[in-house]
Amino acid sequence: MYPLTQYISRDGTSRLLREYVKGGGYRSLQRLTAGMAPKDVQRLVGESGLRGRGGGGFPTGTKWSFVPMGPNAPKPKYIVANGDEMEPGTFKDRILMEGDPHGLVEGMIMAGYALDAEVGYIFLRGEYHLSAQRLNQAIAEAYAAGYLGKPLPGTTFRFDLHLHSSAGRYICGEETALINALEGKRAVPRAKPPFPQTVGLWGQPTVVQNIETLYNLPHIVNHGAAWYRSLSRTQDGGTKMFGVSGRVIRPGWWELPLGTTARELLEQHAGGMAEGVRFRGLLPGGISTAFMIEEHLDFPLDFSSFPQEVGRLGTGTMIIMDDRTCPVGFVLNLEKFFARESCGWCTPCREGLPWVAKLLMAFEEGRATSDDLSLLEMHTKWLAPGHTFCGLAPGAMAPLQSALKYFREDFERHITTGGCPWSTKSAQLRVLV
């Protein structure tokens, strides 16, 4: 039994306040009442080895250390929960929010206390209607019970929390674009620096934190940093929400220690490949991560020890590619997504991604030449980090670049045979454009 999901049932039900409190919920706030200071919470989170669960893996304690504290710090400060879970293949935050909405409320109060931030927003993607309904209910219950909107007993700290349902745009997951969206603007990323920790929402200090990250906070406060580190198999602290989708026997989600391998996830938890198909590769955490192939399946999955030359963990919800799926068609689907979701602010991303999608379409339709293969290679450099305003386009190049490395013969086969060897898919793909 792992902390985040121990009370989440797989039948789709949710816990109300009474059951949440009965299971030990909101207990972490008693520690604050008993005299734990904001800097104590900050230190504990730093020592726990918690890293951001949205995919970046930035150490949470370090992120917090940039927030101005003390009597001269600007007021108000904001905590924003990033629930814009639009990374394809990723559904972990939904499981948490639907199954145990009060855990997020408690996590946000804790983050607010640690940073002396009195207002919180939950930024939720518009399509998560069930999450919205359950979070609204949890927020109303927490107000009625006095966890929100009133000073916590024994302290002067009072926290207010609002739910913002977004209207759908992948770029909202980028923290500065998300802040613009919350201000009622187009979700275009902002230049950094200044970082949101000093100049964020309405110009005030703001910490944007992934949903899963926030769920960890009450458990760290309740049980301590050493306990939290002991949950993990590596030097990163805690467990991770992992998921598997694609042609496997049991697609699903599991909370497991950081350091669990892709092979364990695929073979033990997901039950292996579905009948009649073979494993070819996987994206470990959403579509902005590079492919992993057979030889990588035994790496411990975490943020700090993931080999850089292979890629990164991302969100931890993996997408499995089988041998009945065309790798070129697979990458085309990803690049069309990125092209559609580019905010259009910077030229390399706005123009480069549709170009990449068109090139891949040429492969699928048998019009590609070896020059097109070089053009794809060049795009992976033109859209690399440093050439674009934010991380969207570089993220889009991670699966492409690794596909060109691991599945090169499949790209070449599209040129030599004049079309897609997985051709029924190819005919259907044309409908998608």
């Binding site: 879970e85 639009m86 990374e87 394809p88 293949g89 990723t90 559904f91 939904r94 993607r125 518009g126 399509e127 998560y128 209607h129 069930l130 609002h162 913002h164 349902s165 977004s166 209207a167 759908g168 745009r169 992948y170 969206a181 919350l182 201000e183 009622g184 603007k185 187009r186 979700a187 309405w202 998921g243 598997v244 989708s245 694609g246 042609r247 697609p251 699903g252 989600w253 994206l283 579509i287 919800t317 997408i319 590619m321 089988d322 799926t325 697979f330 689907n333 990803l334 997504f337 559609r340 979701e341 905010c343 259907q428 793909l429 409908v431 998608l432």
Partner: protein, 154 residues
């Protein structure tokens, strides 16, 4: 003109933000809930309420996927076309909808019953292929079950 209910809901929404325009997206979605889509007239009314120019508000309305600036049907079916659903056969759902209702993605049936739209990953990848009709999500959608599902949405 905004109805009394709409006005009340908008006034409630702006309470959550330190600037009125912070509620722009909430306001668009609120009015859309009552009128199904955002006409030029609705846009002007909302802009006036938020003390923004209509052009400014339209730059927001046209940016976000779930704000409709064209009329939609009584029901909207969102067919997920992201990678997990693509692997598991989302095109068959699309084909089936096309065959039965004679509309492609982005179109509305002549009787105004149904609009079909594409959507970014719905976050139900473990039950792919998935689709959402209005606010209801369906997973592991078999193309031959679409008729049964659609019966609920007249």
């Amino acid at each position: 003109m905004l109805s009394d209910i709409e006005r009340r809901e908008l006034e409630e929404a702006v309470q959550h933000y330190s600037e009125k325009r912070g509620a722009a997206i909430d306001a668009l979605l609120t009015v859309q809930r009552h009128r199904r889509w955002i006409s030029d007239e609705s846009l002007l009314d909302i802009a006036q309420f938020l003390e923004m120019t209509a052009e400014d508000l339209d730059s927001i309305a046209t940016f976000y996927n779930l704000v409709f600036r064209k009329p939609v049907g009584r029901h909207v079916a969102f067919v997920c076309d992201s990678i997990s659903c693509w692997i598991m056969g989302c095109e068959q759902i699309r084909e089936q909808l096309k065959k039965h209702y004679d509309i492609d993605v982005g179109q509305t049936t002549r009787d105004g019953r149904l609009t079909v739209l594409p959507i970014a990953c719905l976050g139900h990848c473990e039950r792919a292929p998935a689709m959402m009709i209005d606010q209801d999500v369906y997973g592991e959608v078999a193309p031959d079950k679409i008729d049964i599902i659609m019966n609920k949405y007249k």
